[in-house]
């Protein structure tokens, strides 16, 4: 078996890149919205056969056991090639959770099905009235002897319509002193009676997110992970270098590339007023990428990232937003036309870029929350 970690970074990167070039389907590169499972199933099943579902998991659990530095390269190369994201909550969240806190029985039961994509996991964190205040969640799980009875509602669950299982935070001790206490981590089969999934249509017309309703849903006792009432602590402990990716320059680079293609075809670069604005954004993206690399260097060196990485998310999403705003302006009198606009032989959909940018300043912790965090934990301003 290949020892990937023993390779030089350059070799490893070249390896991944060439694999993608040879195997990844062209029509799935750079999708303009979140893809559905049936669209990418074949590709990910092929990856699973190679044993590459979980690059970050330890080899003893069926992962590749890549070092953080190699994992970063793996993700970067996928981003660079425009690989569509899988419904990867099983790999990213449930697996690491079980490896760290699960019982042997849970590991034996769930991990192989994550690796084979037999189970597709979705996330049940947000609730209609919790928003950025996650700890105020109200979905509750009541102890009914040999099982829990779950009632409540989750929302913003990405592509729940494609999932087979949901992991959720539910209140198991409503009398706990602080609202962060008394929350537990439950694993739930989405086929359990009492569960209803309702997709939420967004303003661009897509259905990326769902509401998930729980009406007296019975969950077996042994599908609670770790200690009861410790769900919050476990959820926080799982946040690793994933937060770096909220500040990735890829979305902005991709958006700027699309605007560039449109502007080139339409001759807009010859208009100094446009060129000036474009240059400003180009530098905003370039300097973001430079700063991102400095953080990535720290990850590569094995360092854990602090709250300061939050500024990347703020700048990345607001830069994306400015690119989207300029794109709509660049479309001129056609700014209201939906679908693609002719740009030479191509068609560039600037409005989908606009709608794509809209939620990025909200999701993953809104930029207001990020600025609050930075002010408190990084600038250390007294409140």
């Amino acid at each position: 078996m290949t020892d990937w970690n023993a390779m030089s970074d350059e070799e490893f990167r070249a390896e991944i890149r060439s694999f993608l070039q040879q195997n990844y389907p062209d029509h799935l590169r750079y999708p303009s919205r979140r893809v559905r499972w049936h669209e990418v199933r074949e590709w990910y099943l092929m990856q699973a056969e190679r044993g590459w579902t979980a690059p970050g998991w330890p080899a003893e659990y069926g992962g590749v056991g890549l070092s953080p530095s190699k994992q970063l390269i793996f993700i970067e190369e996928q981003e660079r090639y425009g690989v569509a994201r899988a419904p990867d909550q099983g790999v990213v969240m449930v697996g690491p959770l079980l490896i760290r806190y699960g019982t042997e029985e849970q590991k034996k039961h769930y991990l192989p099905k994550i690796l084979s994509w037999e189970n597709i996991w979705v996330q049940g964190y947000s609730e209609p009235n919790s928003g950025s205040d996650l700890a105020s969640l109200r979905t509750e799980a009541v102890d009914a002897g040999d099982h829990w009875v779950v009632n409540g509602q989750k929302t913003w669950t990405t592509l729940a319509q494609d999932g087979t299982h949901i992991f959720l935070l539910a209140r198991t001790d409503p009398k706990a002193e602080r609202k962060q206490q008394g929350i537990s981590f439950l694993l739930v089969d989405l086929n359990t009676p009492g569960i209803t999934i309702r997709p939420i249509r967004n303003i661009a017309g897509h259905e990326e997110f769902c509401e998930v309703f729980f009406d007296n849903v019975k969950v077996p006792k042994n599908d609670l992970v770790g200690e009861p009432n410790q769900g919050w602590t476990m959820a926080k402990a799982l946040l690793g270098f994933e937060r770096l990716f909220l500040g990735s320059p890829k979305q902005s680079q991709n958006a700027l590339g699309r605007l560039d293609a449109f502007a080139t075809a339409r001759g807009l670069h010859d208009d100094p007023a446009f060129a000036d604005q474009f240059a400003r954004l180009e530098l905003d993206v370039a300097d973001l990428a430079e700063a991102y690399e400095a953080f990535a260097d720290r990850v590569r060196a094995g360092e854990a990232l602090g709250a300061d990485v939050s500024w990347l998310k703020v700048w990345a999403t607001e830069t994306f937003d400015r690119i989207a705003a300029l794109s709509v302006q660049a479309a001129g009198a056609e700014g209201g036309i939906s679908g693609g606009l002719a740009a030479g032989d191509e068609s560039v959909d600037l409005l989908s870029l606009y709608f794509g940018a809209l939620p990025t300043t909200i999701y993953g912790g809104s930029n207001e929350i990020q600025r609050n965090i930075l002010a408190k934990q990084v600038l250390r301003l007294p409140e």
């Binding site: 939420i200 303003i203 001129g332 056609e334 700014g335 209201g336 036309i337 679908g339 409005l351």
Partner: protein
């Protein structure tokens, strides 16, 4: 309050009454879903006289002006009504400059809602000067033949298109029925669900009287129509922005997080104030354009005033809509929230007849020429 002010207030009340009966947001969602426009609401609007405001009394209209139509447009915007009344009003305003029987007949049809009319003057998306015409009108036996192409004509399902073309090098205006032989229509969907038309004029055969006017009169009619369209679009955008402002400040005041209304967060309060300021600026810019019409401004003075209104309205409405979605948090990005429906309408209207950047440039060019 002067008589005119009183009259405008009554007009606003009457549109608001209509809006209470017919849900604009629901109709706008219907249009987005491809269900088309609600014929009942269209008929009710005609009954209220909203389509005859710019139509002379002798042609069955109310014989009022742009200031009154702006009141209606603002109120329709406030209710997110998806009907292309403003687009049709631009065509009506152009046609009202023409003193001829076919023009009068057409206007009468628009006033009672039986005829839909659209301006079809633009030939390229990035060419917004109506004096630049490449379409041609050639005299043929007992009539005229049009060739060329037009784009971004709104609404696409108009019964008649008001088309500009050069007749022996001289600009002229023609009324072209949608079923005219040689006319090929293609439609493009706007982000709000409305359709705009591209017209291929493949030797469209028309009777001689289809030519409404020529020369300076034709250009002036076109310019008046476009200035009216810009002003009315600005009014509709103001109405949309005002409703977005209300939706958003209401949301901030009622939605709770961390146990307090989110309007208690200073950053959100100040962002809401910025929306307020932008809305006030839109009103100021609109007022001067309305005044220009009231005072009978023409030519470049009128174009300058209209460009100024649209420049402000386009940018400010987009900013307000964008911020409204943001301030609603995740819910704002869903179809369930009303803000997104408004945003799509704002995107469509702010691009129509040229966006803010283009009109700032025209304003600047006209200002330097005037100086």
């Amino acid at each position: 309050m002067t008589d005119r002010q009183e009259e405008r207030r009554m007009l606003a009340d009457s549109v608001a009454g209509f809006a209470r009966q017919y849900d604009g947001i629901a109709r706008a969602r219907g249009l987005s879903d491809g269900a088309g426009l609600d014929p009942e609401a269209w008929a009710a609007m005609a009954d209220l006289g909203l389509m005859g405001i710019l139509v002379p009394e002798e042609a069955g209209g109310l014989g009022l002006g742009i200031p009154e139509m702006a009141v209606v447009a603002e109120e329709l915007g406030r209710n997110c009504a998806p009907e292309p009344l403003v687009a049709q009003a631009a065509a009506q305003a152009a046609l009202a400059q023409v003193d001829s029987k076919p023009a009068k007949e057409c206007l009468a049809g628009t006033a009672d809602g039986s005829t839909r009319l659209a301006l079809a003057w633009q030939e390229k998306a990035d060419q917004l000067n109506p004096a630049v015409i490449t379409s041609r009108a050639d005299a043929v036996d007992g009539g005229v033949r049009l060739s060329g192409s037009k784009c971004l004509a709104l609404p696409a399902d108009a019964d008649l298109f008001l088309v500009s073309a050069l007749d022996n090098g001289v600009p002229a205006l023609f009324l072209v029925p949608r079923d005219a032989a040689g006319l090929e229509l293609q439609s493009q969907r706007q982000v709000d669900g409305a359709e705009t038309a591209s017209l291929n004029l493949n030797g469209v055969q028309l009777p001689a009287e289809a030519c409404l006017c020529t020369g300076d009169a034709a250009l002036q009619a076109l310019n008046t129509g476009i200035s009216a369209g810009l002003t009315l679009a600005s009014a509709e955008l103001l109405g949309l922005a005002d409703r977005l402002y209300t939706l958003t400040t209401d949301y901030l005041a009622t939605r709770k997080q961390f146990g307090v209304p989110i309007s208690s967060f200073q950053v959100l309060r100040h962002r809401a104030v910025n929306l307020y300021i932008q809305r006030e600026l839109m009103r100021a810019a609109l007022n001067q354009a309305v005044r220009a019409f009231e005072q009978g401004a023409t030519g470049e003075a009128l174009q300058r005033a209209a460009s100024r209104a649209k420049a402000r309205a386009g940018d400010a409405a987009q900013l307000i809509a964008r911020e409204s979605v943001q301030l609603h948090g995740a819910i704002g990005f869903t179809e369930e929230a009303d803000v997104g429906v408004h945003l799509r309408r704002v995107l469509a209207l702010s691009a129509w007849l040229g966006n803010a950047g283009w009109h700032r440039r025209r304003y600047r060019t006209l200002s330097r020429q005037a100086a």
